[in-house]
Symmetry: C2
Subunit: 172 residues, 2 copies
Amino acid sequence: MTLAEAKAKFIADWGRFGTNWGINRTMAQIHALLLISPDPLSADEVMEELSISRGNANMNVRELIDWGLVQKVIRPGERKEYFSAEKDIWKVARQIVKERKKRELDLMIPVLKELSEVEGDKRDKAVKTFTDTINNIRKFSDQADKTLDTMIRADEHWFLGSLMKLFAGKRD
Amino acid sequence: MTLAEAKAKFIADWGRFGTNWGINRTMAQIHALLLISPDPLSADEVMEELSISRGNANMNVRELIDWGLVQKVIRPGERKEYFSAEKDIWKVARQIVKERKKRELDLMIPVLKELSEVEGDKRDKAVKTFTDTINNIRKFSDQADKTLDTMIRADEHWFLGSLMKLFAGKRD
DNA sequence: CTGAACTTTCAAAACTTATTGAAAGTTTTA
DNA sequence: TAAAACTTTCAATAAGTTTTGAAAGTTCAG
């Protein structure tokens, strides 16, 4: 496979993969393109490489910046803005976990608390099943909250090293 | 909040939450409904509670069964099929991880291997950046693959207990 | 200032995905 | 075996999401 073919395949696959995770195809493709670019790219270069419109490029680059995955690069003496992606995948993964936690889990936890305070007689089977389920989800969420916070703070070597050592003795 | 209000809110929120994760709203709502039902529900009850069509109910219940989150329950002496959801959230989470891994990571790993075999001169900056990025992703994916396999096999108590103990000394 | 170079916005159009409901299929009962 | 009870399918349609591109906005050199 030539570099050009490999690039095209990586961009297409990363884009398809992204859609499974609620990220839009173009956003994932721009991310892929920037991941494999040795140098920062301008909006025009992104448009050209992916055959997308200016508005689309702008919107999705902005969203990648919001997610903390891409940065603007200003080159001295140039008007144009350039964009470059964080290349260390461990940092990328941590950043994604951090943002999703903020946008999802952190919003869900107070909702679960509210739901757990439903009124009604615990001897009523419907009430009991409801509160048991919500409390089960709450316990899980609180645990996930703590675990993810720790992961977000961890550095790669420590995290993978410890986890692997931990798991090593537990295989069946 | 009354039970009826709480149920409605939980179903709506779980549904909204699901769409963030590439699960369709109806599927997540049916899952929510079954999670909080003390007894298995029939297709008609699901249709009625969520105001959805028969086809929609059937399709999404089937998908929940495919994901291993819901089971058919046959009651002696009754024609109708009933459906009930696994209520233990740790099992639900493990099942989801297992299925997503199968549908996503397991498909991605061979693609990354193929991409890492791109031809070209390593002294070419474009080639080097490409292969470095792909190899970085491969290393991460291989690690994730192993970690997830172990998690899938782990039982709740062991996993959370060990992980928490591990993390306990590492807070800042 | 002014105008060129560039970025951002947003309404309309294209595309994608989910839902309906009636018809077809299957199983059970009598 | 026939009809009732139930489940599944799928083409049409509705709903939701993404993309376009032209217009508006911003910045900066001269």
